[in-house]
Symmetry: C2
Subunit: 364 residues, 2 copies
């Protein structure tokens, strides 16, 4: 067990001990958890991340409205302790199945579906201020990375300059007790929305020519990719540039990488990278880079609706973003990164991104 | 350019030369392509793969019903030649954007959407008997691999025993001119349907204890993963075992890995692995391994419908499969791989799969 595992186990044990001591005193067992509904979530301007407020709610075992969730949360906490002790990592689906059973002497199942066990995990994460990766729970991981850095993952030393055309698959858990960075030569990190675009950058060895690391989360990134980006930014001061489609969905992906999401508000301090900068694509690039109109795509109703929502978000209340959204509405088109191929296969790696970096043409 | 690139370029040039010679003789330019509709697709018992029949159709430039597709196919072929000559790989989306434009002096676009350029690529693949990877076109790749083998990808030597918790991300193109296998110590290949289950096998270093390679395609595998499996099977005689959920979807994934799919019938000789064996999960495992009923899932209407379709497929007309389908119908449940976690976190890696391999309990 690592020191961190011991700390985490102790936090779980303390919860159990508290419950036992309440029972010893013939009190109704109870515990407190932070409220995770919208009215307790806010954008913290100082840290630049979405955060959980300080409203707490108490769960009582002897309250009929609480007792099922109470029992489930205790079951989950106890199984997590076992998982950590056996030094394994399990998926949240494994955890659900491991705990699912009919309670002896009753017709009652501990859990009917995973929708009942997942919120218990989130309660534990939020109340103990732990990442689920520290609880040895793995989310699905889909990202790929390559670039000028060497890392140690368990006993393996992995050189991200030697990953061929494939790249290294980023795991869910990139906490310091699993992943250690060695030999860091990169000067910045380029977070690319799309797999196919990442492959263009990898094939052109962009990371070699520009001393950087290239990372993709294949759409909305997972926790592993976001935490990896945050660690590289915090521990080595690497600037983080995000490259997305010029549409409300790509821009939202950027905002999640930068300051987090509502659903993970309780973990954003460990996942978000507030200093991230948006390197593109924007609708204004169409004129700036003389991109033929034929490769733009008409905004549809869904896009327009999403765009309106985005305009309302507190973290997009900046002059540059207001201008970009206004332009998108005025032109009524969006644009995919692949559309830059119209200007030549390697336009994106040889002209577009280098020029934006050189001129520091970022959106905040 | 590799020798293969030269051969491929020559095939493309020959098409162009043929068209030119027809024009020189004042004939209507035309070319032949294999028919790719269902009535020209069959399951070839001898090779054990889904194949394209020998029906051909002729496309005439001076036939108004053909001329748009004719023009598009020639555009695609010509762009592919350029891509190969520039020694790049592009996605089929890049290719679409690179070619999309309004034809000079008209209001006509070369392509309205990617749904028009993709079939042209398939026509070229089918008529020239080439994989799209040989045309330097990349499909999206999502698989991960680890195990007792070293490979060379371009200039990088990659040791798949040293991939940590992440694994190596399998690229779309694993053709011999891109990926060369070195130092092969593995004795078999385990193809795992699900990412989360693959991570269990990787964390438990199953590939080390059992001298094998573990591969996942994260659901329905991509071309890269299937071609990788086929090459390992053909070139080193590695048996291929497929581990899927006990439901019609998992079993269909197995059938695609084994003998191919209708939509890629023209490439299945290079993608399918007819000797693949199904290692599980089956509904009969519930009794064989004493799996508690609580972790089974009721078959829903969609499952039942899919199951009925599966029973009709020629390649599932085998005693063992008929029995499995009958059992699934009789019990009216399905089962996920993660359900084995009910028997213990490592039950799947320490008991289930080793026992099935030892006793050769495979479905054909």
């Amino acid at each position: 067990m690592t020191d961190r595992d011991k700390e985490v186990t102790k936090k779980l044990e303390d919860v159990g001990k508290q419950l036992l001591s309440q029972i010893d005193k013939s009190q109704s067992p109870s515990y407190e958890i932070p409220v995770r509904t919208l009215n307790n979530i806010f954008f913290d301007k100082k840290s630049g991340t979405i955060k959980l407020g300080d409203k707490m709610s108490e769960r009582q075992f002897l309250n009929i409205a609480h007792s099922r969730r109470f029992m489930q949360t205790v079951l989950v906490a106890s199984e997590i302790k076992k998982v950590i002790e056996s030094q394994a990592t399990v998926s949240i689906r494994d955890l659900y199945y491991a705990l699912k059973h009919t309670i002896e002497g009753t017709q009652e199942n501990t859990f009917e579906d995973q929708g009942e066990s997942d919120p218990c995990i989130e309660d534990i994460e939020a109340s103990l201020d732990l990442l689920r990766e520290e609880l040895h729970l793995a989310a699905s991981a889909k990202g790929i990375i390559a670039g000028d850095v060497q890392l140690k993952d368990g006993k393996d030393t992995i050189d991200l300059t030697k990953m061929g055309s494939g790249g290294w698959s980023v795991p869910s858990n990139v906490e310091p007790n699993q992943i250690e960075f060695k030999k860091m030569n990169a000067e910045f990190l380029l977070f690319i929305e799309k797999d196919a675009v990442w492959r263009r950058f990898n094939e052109d060895q962009f990371w070699k020519k520009h001393n950087c690391i290239i990372l993709t989360g294949r759409g909305q990134p997972g926790r592993g990719e976001r935490r990896m980006a945050q660690r590289l930014n915090k521990e080595f001061g690497l600037p983080l540039y995000v490259l997305c489609d010029a549409d409300p969905w790509g821009m939202y992906i950027y905002s999640v990488i930068k300051q987090g999401s509502i659903s993970l508000s309780y973990s954003e301090e460990k996942l978000a990278t507030p200093s991230a900068k948006f390197i593109g694509l924007t609708t204004r690039d169409v004129e700036a880079f003389k991109i033929p109109k034929e490769v733009t795509i008409k905004l549809n109703q869904l896009d327009a609706k999403r765009l309106k929502e985005m305009e309302g978000y507190e973290w997009f209340q900046k002059k540059e973003w207001k201008e970009e959204f206004a332009n998108m509405k005025a032109k009524a088109y969006k644009l995919e990164l692949e559309a830059l191929s119209k200007k030549g296969i390697r336009f994106i790696t040889e002209t577009y991104v280098p020029q934006k970096i050189k001129n520091e043409e970022f959106l905040p």
